[in-house]
Symmetry: C2
Subunit: 281 residues, 2 copies
Amino acid sequence: MHTRTPIELELQRHVRLDTADQGTRASSGVVNTLRSAPGTTSHRLNHGDPCDQCFQSRSCLQAVLLREGSMDRRGVARAAIRLGKGQRLFATGRTLDRVYAIRAGSFKSVLRCADGRQQVLGFHVSGDMVGLDGFAAQLYLCDVVAMEASEACEIDARALESAAREHSMLRRRIQSLIAQSMLRAQHNLLVLGSMQGAERLAHFLLDMSERYQVLGLSSREFALRMTRKDIGSYLGLYSETVSRLFTRLEHAGLIQVTRRHRVQIIDRIGLAALLSSSAGH
Amino acid sequence: MHTRTPIELELQRHVRLDTADQGTRASSGVVNTLRSAPGTTSHRLNHGDPCDQCFQSRSCLQAVLLREGSMDRRGVARAAIRLGKGQRLFATGRTLDRVYAIRAGSFKSVLRCADGRQQVLGFHVSGDMVGLDGFAAQLYLCDVVAMEASEACEIDARALESAAREHSMLRRRIQSLIAQSMLRAQHNLLVLGSMQGAERLAHFLLDMSERYQVLGLSSREFALRMTRKDIGSYLGLYSETVSRLFTRLEHAGLIQVTRRHRVQIIDRIGLAALLSSSAGH
DNA sequence: CGTTGATTTGAATATCCTCAACGTGCGTGG
DNA sequence: CCACGCACGTTGAGGATATTCAAATCAACG
């Protein structure tokens, strides 16, 4: 179920390499494929290998920066800032001057349209980096909003960039994070494009479960801090439909919901089985 | 209709700057927004400003490379290769050693899952760059398949990277292209997540129309080289539904379809009006 | 000119949206 | 601490939209 996909393994292997160019990497003739199960772009990708407890006192990249000797000495990382529920970390279109490592709490990133339409692109929890998707553009590509009282650590983008230019290891890690968000976006296109409601929700729950597990929290029971409407937007459904799907999964004995936000995964296998039900387009 | 969005203008402005760091860029306090209309990530983004005819004899980045003095002298660009219909330019998960500039023909990029599910992520025509979305990961993130007899120009990734490290202008252009594919993916999430069938198809048609216009071809009449099934996968619909939607748009007097693949846009305003019909989630 | 694969069309069904009513939990302020 | 208001969540019923399976039609190509 939660085995790494070939492309993930490849990515992991990749980001461990230190030098900028190594001539003899085996290009596996095998056609690697992405699996549809959740976790295709798991948190684990953030850091090649060690850093198992980076989520505790410091967020991932901070730990990386420390190891790389790129923090404090170079003034890259700054103090953490606090945000209340609903407050925005940054806004679409603004010049990207900082990226953020989430220290505590949870955020959503949402794409806003001029016509009022909006789309939740993803959710971020402690340990995640946000803002990196706009690093190449040097512009924030979406809004990032706190879903509860949260804390994030500012990282100066320019300093990070110049540090990355010198430290190939750091550069690779940043690139790996950017690749991760690219992968996630593309994978979500598959979810929206070829799964139906129940599958999407099951996928979402398993994905969240895995992310919490990586954080050292329970993968069996966790709290969803986002509203049904947010989940709906993320999954391309209406909040009423999401609600109905929750109860359907509950009646099917796959999950149990207590006090609206607390989710318990009863039958992980059954949930995963939902994902292979329809072949898609 | 086809005015640039704030974020696009910002991007354009951005990629024209030569130096790596410029301290005093105005960070507009205005909350920039994305519009839902097609063309959010148009071809025009590929090159900041000049290079209006780059699509003719040379593809975009080639022209850029020439101007930057990064081609031939450095051996970055290589000869074009030919592909027949259905042939793959590269495969998911393979180590990224080259990126490609499409010289002629058209391609689709498709995400493949282990369970057989697959999702068309986008279509690419003459002048587009493909493979750059995996540049950060140094892995191809999806398959790219020729939809007709096509021609693409190989660009050595490692040489390109090292050239980019020296030429900040080139680096910015590459980053702009990567940002473009990120933007496109995120925008497509919005399309799949918050539009219904007719809107999606209208959006797709207007997007293609604009892309052909940028190529100097007619934006009013053009050929769609992909199958209904491909369009369906791209838009999260079944091919039958796509077919029905085509005839519906035709009966509504918005488009005209001849010989299955030739599309004429009759009422551009009407098509665009479809996009603002539903508010979304 | 016939074969083949893609497309269109039809009919029945499933899924999801929509509107509306109601329930629940949370925080505020008395 | 309790009552209240309010946002969020759930549930129901009906309708719109999209899927599914099947059959017929069309266009391209040898």
